[in-house]
Amino acid sequence: MIFDVSVQGRTVKAEVKATTADSYTVVIDGRPHVVDFRETGRDFASLLLDGRSFEAGLERREDGFVVHLPADNIAVVLQEAARGSAAAHKKASGPSRVTAPMPGKVVRLLVEAGQEVAAGAGLLVMEAMKMENELRAPRAGRVQSVAAREGLAVETGALLVVIE
């Protein structure tokens, strides 16, 4: 099984072959690794790679996993290559949709539709967990629309502002 993988800004190919029930060969960009992989509880696995031992927490995401290793948590986005390598195409240009990065309440709007904003300009203030956080423009542009309303509670991912 071949995967297109995005990890820490890299794009690589990873091919997985099962040799026995717990032993796999993973070829990452041409380099083979022999991996003894065992599940240790529902969200954890123990990996041995050429004698090196790693304890991994495997957090499932929509598009892959966040792998918790002792030194860091590493997001791995992956997709079976057979279905077309779409993984790398995500960062398209076009209008920027600013969405709620957390559940919370919209406290104040700082822009309105039609307004020009600089990159980093404040767009609105959200409150969550007793802190007010200013959401800023990811890039310069014109505010196409403002979906957020003051005082409204929003869920993660809710569309707030579109910048074109």
């Binding site: 099984m1 995967f3 993988v5 990890v7 690589v12 990873a14 997985v16 099962a18 029930a21 796999y24 993973v26 990452i28 380099r31 690794h33 991996v35 992989f37 599940e39 509880g41 529902r42 969200d43 954890f44 990996l47 790679l49 790693f54 991994a56 927490g57 957090e59 499932r60 995401r61 929509e62 966040v66 792998v67 918790h68 290793l69 002792p70 030194a71 860091d72 590493i74 791995v76 992956l78 079976e80 920027s96 949709r97 600013v98 969405t99 990065p101 957390m102 559940p103 406290v107 980093g120 969550a128 967990m129 007793k130 956080n133 200013e134 959401l135 800023r136 990811p138 707030l160 502002v161």
Partner: protein, 504 residues
């Protein structure tokens, strides 16, 4: 007088901390909880638990009437307020006194005098304790704020008079930023403390935040339990604390301890309290404020002094004399606390509430985890994002750092973002290892100097690819031998998208 039953007027890890002390002493404990907190750990751990209102603090944890009502109904003869919420509310302490319930903290009049920051600054000035230049009274009108600001000069700090924990606190670099900062600070102060008055202080450049823990009984005995170094902050809120401070000389430590005890004795302080100081780069201390309550970071003091502050609070509240004198208090070894927040350090410490899908906590020697959560718990959006305090002790600062690094590597929180990866990096940062940092550490030094680590990304890719392979095989029914592994109930979806912005 022995207390019969203690109500804890708080939630989260500090409520669990107090409940543990009660259980160890054999005193029954009573939890109160908001509608959002029925499943919170403090409810599960207490001997009794009663609901006191809807999720917003104003309608539950800040409702004195409901809390006192519960206390009376269940026969609690004492209330521990924890920190935050009603812990520094003089009216609440007074209402307890009037209801014949022991408030585990200072007397109401002391809370009023020392808890209100401008009043505490005046008292400190009278007692000869140096303070940062600024207003000695809360400033009401925007006009007066502008006048005082130009008198003091920029940069300056805007602070909630009733505040604490970094809320309602703003650095104002220039006169241009003043109006916005005042609005923001007032709004936060109002929502956090029900009081929007603010005051102004000159900003001390490259300061260290160092505080002195004190403990006093009702018989006139007062001691200090040395200092805590609290310089590492994000958004003016502490994230890492330690004791001893790598910055203090023995002389300065002695001097600050004596200043603290003098001030405490002057106001007839009773129970636990903390005097916060700024220390500038010339090692001059300035008294900032007094917290008339237990502090989040009390465990570092407990670990270096081998004392249990909550048990001491309870004993003092029972009218007992302090069982130790200043000479008995020793600073042994070194302790570091890391506050584990449900926040994403990669995105400007943005809050990250949600379900904790899996949790593994560190153990072994010299490690203490004061947690308020559990596997399967939904971290709510309504309250402070701190989920745990991880504390490590060692004989030396180097030992303590090695232990903290090890503990962080064992600590796994799946399902939400936490500050743990941030601590992993801090514990390797050369400036932190050298003890060379000021309050700008997180914002400036840390970003500039990215720590180079071996990032075993290939291992992450191998793990993810194999798990994906197994999931797909399992779904296709081809992998019949994966008996031990229960199928996962669902994909965990959290769509972080562009637009979360840089410096939130």
């Amino acid at each position: 007088m022995n207390l019969k039953k203690i109500l804890i007027a708080n939630r989260g890890e500090i409520a669990v901390r107090v409940i543990r002390a009660c259980r160890e002493l054999g005193i029954p404990s009573v939890a109160v909880y908001s509608e959002a907190d029925r499943l919170a750990l403090h409810v599960r751990r207490a001997d009794e638990a009663y609901e006191i209102g809807p999720a917003p603090s104003r309608e539950s944890y800040l409702r004195m009437d409901r809390i006192l009502d519960v206390a009376k109904r269940c026969g609690a003869d004492a209330i521990h307020p924890g920190y935050g919420f009603l812990s520094e509310n003089a009216a609440f302490a007074r209402a307890c006194e009037e209801a014949g319930i022991t408030f585990i903290g200072p007397r109401a009049e002391t809370i009023q005098a020392m808890g209100e920051k401008t009043s505490a600054r005046r008292i400190a000035v009278e007692a000869g304790v140096p303070v940062v230049p600024g207003t000695l009274h809360p400033v009401a009108s925007d006009e007066e704020i502008r006048r005082e600001a130009s008198r003091i000069g920029f940069p300056l700090m805007l602070k909630a008079a009733a505040g604490g924990g970094g809320k309602g606190l703003r650095l104002v670099p220039h006169a241009d930023d003043l109006a916005t900062a005042v609005d923001r600070a007032r709004s936060e102060a109002k929502s956090a403390f029900g009081d929007d008055s603010v005051y102004l202080e000159k900003a001390v450049l490259k300061p260290r935040h160092i505080e002195i823990q004190v403990m006093a009984d009702a018989h006139g005995n007062a001691i200090h339990l040395y200092e805590r170094e609290c310089t590492i902050q994000r958004r003016h809120q502490k994230v890492i604390e330690e004791s001893p401070s790598p910055f203090l000389t023995p002389e300065l430590r002695e001097r600050m301890g004596s200043l603290a005890v003098a001030l405490v004795k002057k106001v007839g302080y009773v129970n636990a309290g903390t005097l916060e100081f700024l220390v500038d780069k010339d090692r001059e201390p300035y008294f900032l404020e007094m917290n008339t309550r237990l502090q989040v970071e009390h465990p570092v003091t407990e670990m270096v002094t081998n004392l249990d502050l909550v048990k001491l609070q309870i004993r003092v509240a029972q009218g007992e004399r302090l069982p130790i004198t200043q000479e008995d208090v020793r600073q042994t070894g070194h302790a570091i606390e890391c506050r584990v927040y449900a926040e994403d350090p990669e995105r400007g410490f943005l809050p990250s509430p949600g379900r904790i899908a899996a949790l593994r906590v560190p153990g072994g020697p010299g490690v203490r985890d004061d947690s308020g959560v559990y596997e399967g718990y939904d971290v709510p959006i309504h309250y402070d994002p701190m989920i745990s305090k991880l504390v490590a002790w060692g004989r030396t600062r180097e030992d303590a750092i090695g232990r903290m690094r090890r503990a962080v590597s064992e600590y796994k929180v799946l399902g939400i973002q936490t500050t743990l990866p941030f601590f992993e990096r801090v514990m390797r940062h050369p400036d932190f290892l050298a003890g060379d940092f000021d309050t700008s550490f997180v914002d400036v030094a840390f970003r500039r100097h990215e720590v180079v680590r071996e990032a075993p990304w290939e291992v992450a890719v191998a793990a993810a690819a194999i798990q994906a392979f197994r999931d797909r095989k399992a779904r296709r029914g081809a992998l019949s031998q994966s008996a031990g592994a229960a199928p996962v109930s669902g994909w965990r979806v959290r769509g972080w998208r562009e637009g979360a912005g840089g410096r939130l």
